[in-house]
Structure formats: structure tokens, C-alpha cells
């Protein structure tokens, strides 16, 4: 965990009246991930490509003996792709999918920001405002200072069956 | 020093039960799965009591008793057979082979302990 996150956790301690979210930067916007679902944060490393997979699946990595897929969030949300830099980070998250199976995936984001706390009543439902991110992947919005953080629904990101794939002739 | 007992039975669950019961009462227990194994053990060490089932592969209980009596250190050792109630002739055979007595199956741990205590006192 980056230092800032650790510090925040220490300061806030057990804030029973709110949920902690790890915030990260993606194409200029802030997104939040429920910290209970965050397994670890790694730098970008070489992946093994999976043939015939959706564009946003970069491949898989070896996470201490388990095979974990890496998903590029920019590509997942059809945002313009950027070359990876040394700030590029992979956040490994774990959640239960629709079938109830616990699965881990790594999300490639531009950078990690901070940890915030938000109580349930602070979370606002997303209006259809033509946001970058499809609403089915967002739990809601939260204000943090003068910024807006979009809380991501991690379980929805695990659904990989619906993929937009173009086919070339054989 | 704790008394030692050699328990011989081809049924692992019976051996375990006998062993567990006797060990719990402070006895030293050695196990064997048939007469051949038991004889091997007997040839290398002496015990204070042998409890053996009758029906076993490789060497049955009665032959084991006969063989044990032939060993100098087992001449007077109490040798008990585990028999079922309907085999009177087995008891006879056992006695002719030199058995000390018998314990009737099925038995519960208390019965076993009582008999062992009597014999080893």
C-alpha cells in the first residue's frame, strides 16, 4: 500500500460510520474502490497475453502461484489509451462474481491517489450524465473536497462474458 | 515401569481400540496385524501380556500361542485369546496350545481393562 493510504488508515482508525475507499486516477477522473476488496497494489509488470481475449484484457500474471488476469480500465471504459509510465499501477482486487465465486483481477490505472471515507448516505446515485464509465459499473458518486469520486462496482468488472470483439476473416 | 502388552488383531479398528484403551490406563502397547508380525516382535523383546485375535491371515491366533509358548521368555507369560461366544472348540484348541484364557467378543473397553488388570496384578 502506498504510504499515504497507510497514513490515512491510521488517522481514521476504525470509522464505523463509513466505508473506506482507495481512490485512483484514470484519465483525469477519480475513482474509488472499496478497500475491503483491494488485495494489493503492484507496479506494472510483463504480462502473458491471452489469445482472442477482449482488448482490455492485457493478459495474466503470476500472483504468488495463482494466475490473475490484468484488465486495463482505460480500455475497459473505452477511454483513450496512454503509454504506461512509472506511475502506472495495478490494483489487485477480489470480489464475488454473479455466480458467487470469489475471483481476483488486476486493474491497470494511471496512479493511486488516496484513501477516503464515505458514509452510505453521502453516496449519490449516478445520473445519466454521459459519464465516461457505464453506470452499471458505478455504485455511486461521492464528493471529496471539490472533487467527485466515482465509486466502482468491482463485482461488475468481473463479468467478462460480454465482450466487444471484432472478427477478421480466416 | 509400566507393564507392556502385545495386541494382535488383523482388524486395524480393533487394534486401535484395544491400544487406545490400554494406553489410556497406563500400559505400554505394541501392535501386530497377524501372528507372523507378533512372533517377530516377541523374538526381540518380552512383554507382560499378549492379547490376540484368533482368525488372522498368515498365522492365526492359536498357532501364535503355540509358537510363543516355545519361546523361553514366553513360557509363563499370560496369553489371552479374543474369541466369539459360539466357538467353544476354539477355546479348547487355544488351551491345548497353551493359552491362559480368553476374552469374549464383542467386549467394551471396561471389560478389557478389568480382565487385563486381573491378569497383570
Amino acid at each position: 500500500m502506498p504510504e499515504s493510504a497507510n497514513n490515512v488508515k491510521q488517522i481514521l482508525g476504525d470509522d464505523a460510520s463509513g466505508t473506506q475507499y482507495l481512490t485512483c486516477l484514470l484519465a483525469g477522473e477519480q475513482y474509488g474502490l472499496n478497500i475491503l476488496q483491494v488485495q494489493e497494489i503492484r507496479g506494472w509488470e510483463q504480462v502473458t497475453r491471452i489469445p482472442n481475449s477482449p482488448r482490455y484484457i492485457k493478459g495474466v500474471i503470476n500472483l504468488r502461484g495463482t494466475i490473475v488476469p490484468i484488465l486495463d480500465l482505460r480500455l475497459r471504459f473505452d477511454l483513450p489509451a496512454e503509454p504506461y509510465s512509472k506511475e502506472t499501477v495495478v490494483i489487485v482486487v477480489r470480489a464475488a462474481d454473479k455466480k458467487g465465486n470469489e475471483r481476483s483481477i488486476g486493474l491497470v490505472v494511471d496512479a493511486v491517489s488516496d484513501v477516503i471515507v464515505a458514509r452510505d448516505e453521502q453516496v449519490v446515485c449516478t445520473p445519466e450524465f454521459g459519464a465516461n464509465v457505464p453506470t452499471e459499473n458505478i455504485i455511486g458518486l461521492v464528493s471529496e473536497g471539490d472533487e467527485m469520486v466515482m465509486l466502482l462496482d468491482i463485482a461488475s468488472l468481473l463479468e467478462l462474458d460480454a465482450d466487444e470483439v471484432g472478427v477478421t476473416g480466416g | 515401569m509400566a507393564a507392556s502388552i502385545l495386541a494382535v488383531d488383523d482388524s486395524a479398528s480393533m487394534r486401535q481400540m484395544v491400544s487406545f484403551t490400554l494406553k489410556g490406563a497406563g500400559y505400554d502397547v505394541v501392535e501386530a496385524a497377524d501372528g507372523v508380525e507378533a512372533l517377530k516382535i516377541a523374538r526381540t523383546r518380552s512383554v507382560n501380556l499378549v492379547i490376540t485375535d484368533v482368525n488372522m491371515p498368515n498365522m492365526d491366533g492359536i498357532s501364535l500361542i503355540r509358537e510363543l509358548r516355545a519361546l523361553p521368555s514366553y513360557k509363563f507369560t499370560p496369553l489371552l485369546m479374543l474369541t466369539t461366544e459360539s466357538s467353544a472348540d476354539k477355546k479348547q484348541q487355544g488351551k491345548s496350545a497353551g493359552a491362559t484364557g480368553w476374552i469374549v467378543k464383542p467386549f467394551n473397553p471396561e471389560q478389557l481393562l478389568n480382565t487385563v488388570k486381573k491378569v497383570l496384578s
Binding site: Q46, V47, T48, R49, P51, N52, S53, R55, I57, K58, V60, I61, N62, T66, I67, V68, A81, P83, Y84, R103, I105, L160, D161, V165, G166, V167, T168, G170 | S11, S13, M14, Q16, M17, F20, T21, G24, D53, N55, M56, P57, R69, F76, P78, L82, T84, E85, S86, K95, G98, A99, T100, G101, K105, P106, F107, N108, P109, E110, K118, S121
Partner: protein, 703 residues
């Protein structure tokens, strides 16, 4: 003090089920005419153990039931009863019932009471036939005199004169007297009159005798019990001591002689009638159909366990010991490391590699179970099925000791059952047909297993009528699977039976043609990483050959390179690897690029196209390597850039966190920590057929 017996139950059940298997195979192998005593003895012992254990652990219904079986077997082994086919059949059915009872006892359910009762009656019926009264001998000890004077004695006078050899039975007069004394106050009078002179004195003999008086009005039976063991080894008399003023003339007549101990078989109340024979057969059949025989590890609801030879564990412990030593040696080297010690380091690492490899092999060995666990159900199955089908069939098995990974054993059972049933049902002809064809009346089914080149090969061969080539072709054409004028080899035609829903049996007998199908069998075998093939000669017979990897967790793989990507090809699928020459290539209309290999035209699969790899090296087919692979009966050549090494890889799941990918069966972690994907050959061939790769974003993003 009470001891919880439940902790021994699991072992008792495991043992008892094994015992049932011993009984069953013993009974199946028994020939009424030539049964030998040792065979019967082994079956008897198994029943005896189950009876004893179930009684000890409180499963009285099992104990009572087994008791009757044991009695029957006892008569047989003593020669008091002939070994008749009828008795064997009843015993076999009793084994089934007993299995149910034990399963119910283990899992907490209840056995079919009616069935148990019925079978119990059957056993008794057989016992009653030519019933010998030998086993009704009343126990002499229990036949203690029934003289009970109305007036109770106040004590007992006991004369105890041990025979000289008494101590040699391990009995000790002192112990016996002490025990007597626990019943009450005892006065002891020792008679030394028999003691010989010192020179004639035998220290191991007993010369002393005792007059004992027990001043306690205990029951005579209690005294008898104490002397029970030595009653043949001594002169022994017990006389009651009556109270003052007792008049013997007033003693009551002893009651009528107690009933002779009832013949054991009649202890139970009268039971219900035995259902007619056909009904019983059907019940058996129904249970044969349902998968009643689980492999040892698949105990319903119980904890999964495996029996391991203790030597394997010992070897493992030794190896771990060596590993620890090597590791600590390397640890020491590492502290304070100096470049001059690099040689020692290298040696140490080589040793480490060797020990790790040995350890790995040993651990794999532990999970290896002999395939007999799967094969063991077949003698019974063949026996029952052949009577049901009215055919004469002999089963010959070989290689039962061939060891296979535990996971493979569990999954190979069902497919094998299906295949053997097919052989019996469709392959082997009825006796009349066989005779008419000049074959011996009894058909032979050979089930064998062996290790061949790092795989398990299981074969089911029969000498029946072979596969009906023309019928199969006709059916396939009807189904639109092939066209009537497709140029198909016999092998291709036989392969068609693996298509879903395919069954040419005229009557779909419930034995095998339930549509469970060969396609499911093949799929199951593919899922195990194996392959299945059929050979057949009309009129002579068929053979089904199954190849399986030794273990599901580890795979022997050939690493291949396409561009910058490496993949693993399972060695079991590789036929050979070749460098193509122009002369071998051609393009066949409707089949795309092909190459010739020993007169076969096989399709070329351009891996970089199927997997969308853009920066592959070899542009022309002749620049790369062609790996000829086989899957589901078909062959093709994979066009790759290079062959890298062969290695054993540990299979990791791709699906656990991702999902199933067509053409990929799993992943592995290479020595450098990176992930390599393992190819699924049948899936790959399907993918190739569907044509082409799907678009991907340019790879330039990878840092």
C-alpha cells in the same frame, strides 16, 4: 471412565468396506466344485472381522446380520457344508445388503429394512437346508449346574488343586486366589503334601494345592467365572457351606435342564417372506446401474482420505530431511558470501534441484493409487450383466497394479463402466451366434492397464462382432454428420460414434444405450487430458484404447515459441515435429493448406493467425517448424517459430480467476516466474476450423 468409540469408527468403516470387497471378489472367484479352504477362509475372516468390529462399536444390526453369513461360511470352511452355487449366490446378495447396512451406519441413514429382513431369511433358509447341528454345542462353562437350593449358602468351600503344568499356561494360582478374595473374606489353607524332595523339584511345575473358604454368600457363577480359564488344568470343586441347622433333605429338586443353547440361526423372530427371485434380480440390477460403488476416496459425506503405503511416507520423510540439510548448507554459504565460494554455491544449487525433483516425484507417488480400485467393480458387473443378457462372457483383467493419480481414478470410473457395458451389450454376441460363427461360446473381454511412455494406457478388448461400419455410416449420413460420398476411412467412420446422441443399437437396452453416450465418454477423457481411440475388425472384435496422463496436476510439455510468446504443448498430444519442405505442401480445395505425412493429408494450422500474434518470425512455412499433434482422433500440424525445451509443468487454472479460453487448457509458471499458457489441442483445432484470429489492439502499449 468411558471412552468415546466414535474415533475408531472411520477406520472400522474403511476396513469393513475393504472386507466386503474381499468377500465379493472371493465369492465371485469361487467355483462350487473346486473351492479351496484358504479361499473360503479368507472370506470367512472378512465376515468375522466385520461381525466382531460392528458388535464392538455398537452396530448390532450389522453384527447380527453378518453373524449368519459367518455361520454359513464357517460350515463351508470346516467341510460341514458343500460349497454350492446357490449358497454362493445368496452370500453375494448378502454382501450387497451388508454394504447398504454399513453405508447407512456410516452416513447416519437407514438401510432398506424390508430388504435386510428378506435377505436374512434367505440366509437362514440356506442354513436350514442340510442344517448341521454342530454349531449348537452348548458352552460347557455356561452349562453350570442349575442346582439352586432354596436355602442360600452362607459361603463356599473351594478345593483348588492345580495340575503340575498349570503355570505353563501363563496362569498364576496366586492371582486366581487373589481374585477370589475380592469376592469376600477368604481363608486359605495351603497343602504342601505333594511337594517333592529338592532334587526332584521342577521349578516350573506346580505342586501346591489349596483349600479355600469364601465367607461370603455370593452366586456360584461368580466363583466359576474366576476359575473358568483353568478348569481343565486343575482339580476343582466348589461346595456350598450351608447355614447352621440346614436340612439337606428339604432341598428342592433342581429345575429342569436349562434349554440347550438355541441354534444361533433361530434367534430371530419369524421374518417376512422372501420376494420372488426376479424381483430380487431387478433390485440388484437397479443398484448396479446406479453408481453404488464409490472409489475409496469418494465416501459420501465423509472426509476424503487415502491409504498410503508406509514406505512411501518414510521415503518422503527422508527426502525432506535431505532437503533441509541442503537448504541449511546453502543458508550458511549465503551468510558472508564471497565470490571464491561460487563453486560450492553451484554444487549446492544442483543438489537442491535434485532433492526438489525427488521430493516432487515422491509426493506424486503418494497420490498414486493402483487402478484396481477402478477395476474392482468389473468382475461383479460382468457377472451380473452377462446373466441378465443371457450371454456367456469371461472377463480377463491385467495390470491392476498400474498406479494412477487419485484424481484420475475418481473420474475414469464412469467412462470405463460405460465402455465395458457397451462391449458386453453390443460387442459380444449371444452364444448361438458365436457358435454359428465358429467362435467359442464364451466371449472374452480383456481389460488392461499399463504405463507406456509416461502415460497410462487402458484397453478394453473384446472378441465380439466388431463395430458395424455400414450401419454407423448410414446413421451418420441420416444425421447429416457426413455426406454419403465423403471419402472416409474405416477409422474415420468408427470415430463417428463419438458424436453426440449416436447410438446404432437396435433396441436401446437400458444397459448401455441410454444416450449417456460415447460423446460424454470422450469429453470426460479429454477433460482428464487424455485421448480415446477405437479399433475394430468386423467379426473378430473391437478395442478401445484410452491414454491418460499420469497425473492431472502435472504435465509433460513441449515449449514452443511464436514471436515473443511461448506456449506449452502437452507431450501426450505430439506425434512428431518436422521441418517442412515445399514438396510436402499443397492446397486442397475445401480444406485449405495441407501437408503430407506418410500418405495422409493433414491441415496446417498457422498459430500466429489463430492466436493473433503479429510479430512472428517465420513468414514462410518452410522457415518455421511444424509440430504434428493429435486430438480427438484427428491430426494437424501447428506452424510455430521455434521449439524450446521440454519440461514438466505444474498445471494452474486459468478459469479460477479468468474464464475458459478456447484452445487453452490452463497455464503454468515457468522458472523465471512468468506465465505460459498450455494448449488444448482439440479446442485449438476447433478454433482453427472456425477461422482466423479476432482483432486486438496493437501490442505497442506493453512497457
Amino acid at each position: 471412565m468411558s471412552i468415546d468409540m466414535a474415533q475408531f469408527h472411520q477406520v472400522f468403516f474403511e476396513e469393513s468396506f475393504e472386507g466386503l470387497d474381499v468377500m465379493e471378489s472371493g465369492l465371485l472367484n469361487m467355483d462350487p466344485g473346486t473351492a479351496d479352504v484358504e479361499e473360503i477362509n479368507a472370506i470367512f475372516r472378512a465376515a468375522h472381522s466385520i461381525k466382531g468390529g460392528s458388535g464392538t462399536f455398537g452396530f448390532m444390526n450389522v453384527s447380527d446380520f453378518t453373524h449368519v453369513m459367518e455361520t454359513l461360511l464357517d460350515e463351508m470352511r470346516d467341510g460341514r457344508r458343500q460349497v454350492a452355487a446357490d449358497a454362493i449366490e445368496v452370500l453375494l446378495q448378502s454382501v450387497d445388503v451388508l454394504r447398504d447396512m454399513l453405508t447407512a451406519a456410516r452416513d447416519g441413514g437407514s438401510a432398506d429394512e424390508a430388504r435386510v429382513k428378506a435377505q436374512y431369511s434367505e440366509l437362514q433358509r440356506v442354513l436350514a437346508d442340510k442344517h448341521s447341528s454342530d454349531d449348537a454345542v452348548a458352552d460347557p462353562v455356561k452349562q453350570a449346574s442349575a442346582v439352586v437350593p432354596e436355602v442360600q449358602p452362607v459361603g463356599w468351600k473351594i478345593v483348588f488343586r492345580p495340575h503340575p503344568h498349570l503355570m505353563r499356561t501363563g496362569n498364576d494360582p496366586l492371582r486366581i486366589i487373589r481374585e477370589l478374595a475380592t469376592l469376600g473374606e477368604t481363608s486359605v489353607n495351603c497343602d504342601l503334601s505333594e511337594l517333592p524332595a529338592f532334587e526332584e523339584f521342577e521349578p516350573e511345575d506346580s505342586y501346591l494345592s489349596w483349600d479355600l473358604r469364601l465367607h461370603e454368600p455370593v452366586d456360584k457363577s461368580q466363583i466359576d467365572e474366576i476359575f473358568e480359564w483353568v478348569e481343565d488344568d486343575c482339580d476343582f470343586a466348589v461346595v456350598p457351606v450351608m447355614p447352621e441347622g440346614y436340612d439337606p433333605a428339604a432341598a428342592v429338586e433342581p429345575p429342569a435342564a436349562s434349554d440347550q443353547a438355541e441354534p444361533v440361526a433361530q434367534k430371530k423372530p419369524h421374518l417376512t417372506e422372501v420376494p420372488p427371485p426376479e424381483e430380487r434380480r431387478v433390485t440388484d440390477e437397479r443398484r448396479n446401474e446406479a453408481e453404488r460403488r464409490k472409489t475409496p476416496a469418494a465416501a459420501a459425506g465423509g472426509s476424503s482420505s487415502i491409504r498410503v503405503d508406509i514406505h512411501k511416507i518414510d521415503a518422503l520423510i527422508n527426502m525432506v530431511g535431505e532437503l533441509v540439510i541442503t537448504q541449511s548448507m546453502l543458508g550458511m554459504l549465503g551468510e558472508d558470501f564471497h565470490i571464491s565460494r561460487v563453486e560450492r554455491l553451484r554444487e549446492g544449487l544442483t543438489q537442491l534441484e535434485r532433492h526438489t525433483r525427488e521430493l516432487q516425484e515422491s509426493v506424486m507417488q503418494i497420490r498414486m493409487v493402483p487402478i484396481s480400485f477402478s477395476f474392482s467393480r468389473f468382475p461383479r458387473l460382468v457377472h451380473d450383466l452377462s446373466s441378465k443378457l443371457n450371454k456367456k462372457i469371461e472377463l480377463k483383467m491385467s495390470g491392476e497394479n498400474t498406479e494412477v493419480d487419485k484424481t484420475v481414478i475418481e473420474k475414469i470410473g464412469d467412462p470405463l463402466v460405460h465402455l465395458v457395458r457397451n462391449s458386453l451389450d453390443h460387442g459380444i454376441e449371444k452364444p448361438e451366434e458365436r457358435l454359428a460363427a465358429g467362435k467359442p461360446e464364451t466371449g472374452i473381454v480383456r481389460l488392461s492397464a499399463s504405463h507406456r511412455g509416461g502415460n497410462i494406457v487402458i484397453e478394453i478388448r473384446d472378441d465380439g462382432r466388431g463395430l458395424p461400419r455400414d450401419k454407423i455410416l448410414k446413421k451418420a449420413v441420416e444425421r447429416g454428420l457426413v455426406k454419403a460420398d465423403d471419402n472416409l476411412s474405416d477409422k474415420d467412420i468408427y470415430d463417428l460414434i463419438f458424436q453426440p446422441g449416436f447410438s446404432t443399437a437396435e433396441q436401446v437396452s437400458d444397459v448401455s444405450g441410454r444416450g449417456v453416450g460415447m460423446d460424454v465418454v470422450r469429453r470426460n477423457i479429454n477433460e482428464l487430458g487424455g485421448a480415446i481411440e477405437i479399433e475394430s475388425t468386423p467379426g473378430k472384435g473391437s478395442a478401445i484404447i484410452i491414454r491418460l496422463p499420469l497425473t492431472l496436476a502435472i504435465l509433460d510439455g513441449q515449449t514452443i515459441r511464436i514471436g515473443k510468446e511461448t506456449y506449452i504443448v502437452p507431450l501426450v498430444s505430439i506425434v512428431e515435429s518436422i521441418q517442412i519442405q515445399e514438396s510436402m505442401l499443397n492446397t486442397v480445395v475445401g480444406r485449405g493448406e495441407t501437408f503430407t505425412l506418410r500418405e495422409e493429408y493433414l491441415p496446417v494450422v498457422r498459430m500466429h493467425e489463430v492466436f493473433g500474434i503479429e510479430d512472428h518470425d517465420a513468414k514462410r512455412l518452410t522457415d518455421g517448424i511444424l509440430v504434428v499433434v493429435e486430438g480427438e482422433g484427428r491430426k494437424c500440424g501447428l506452424f510455430v517459430d521455434d521449439l524450446l525445451g521440454q519440461q514438466q509443468v505444474v498445471i494452474k487454472s486459468l478459469e479460477a480467476n479468468y474464464r475458459k479460453v478456447e484452445g487453452i487448457s490452463g497455464a503454468t509458471i515457468l522458472g523465471d516466474g512468468s506465465v505460459a499458457l498450455i494448449l488444448d489441442i482439440p479446442g485449438l483445432m476447433r478454433l482453427a476450423k472456425q477461422g482466423g484470429a479476432r482483432t486486438r489492439a496493437p501490442l505497442a502499449l506493453t512497457a
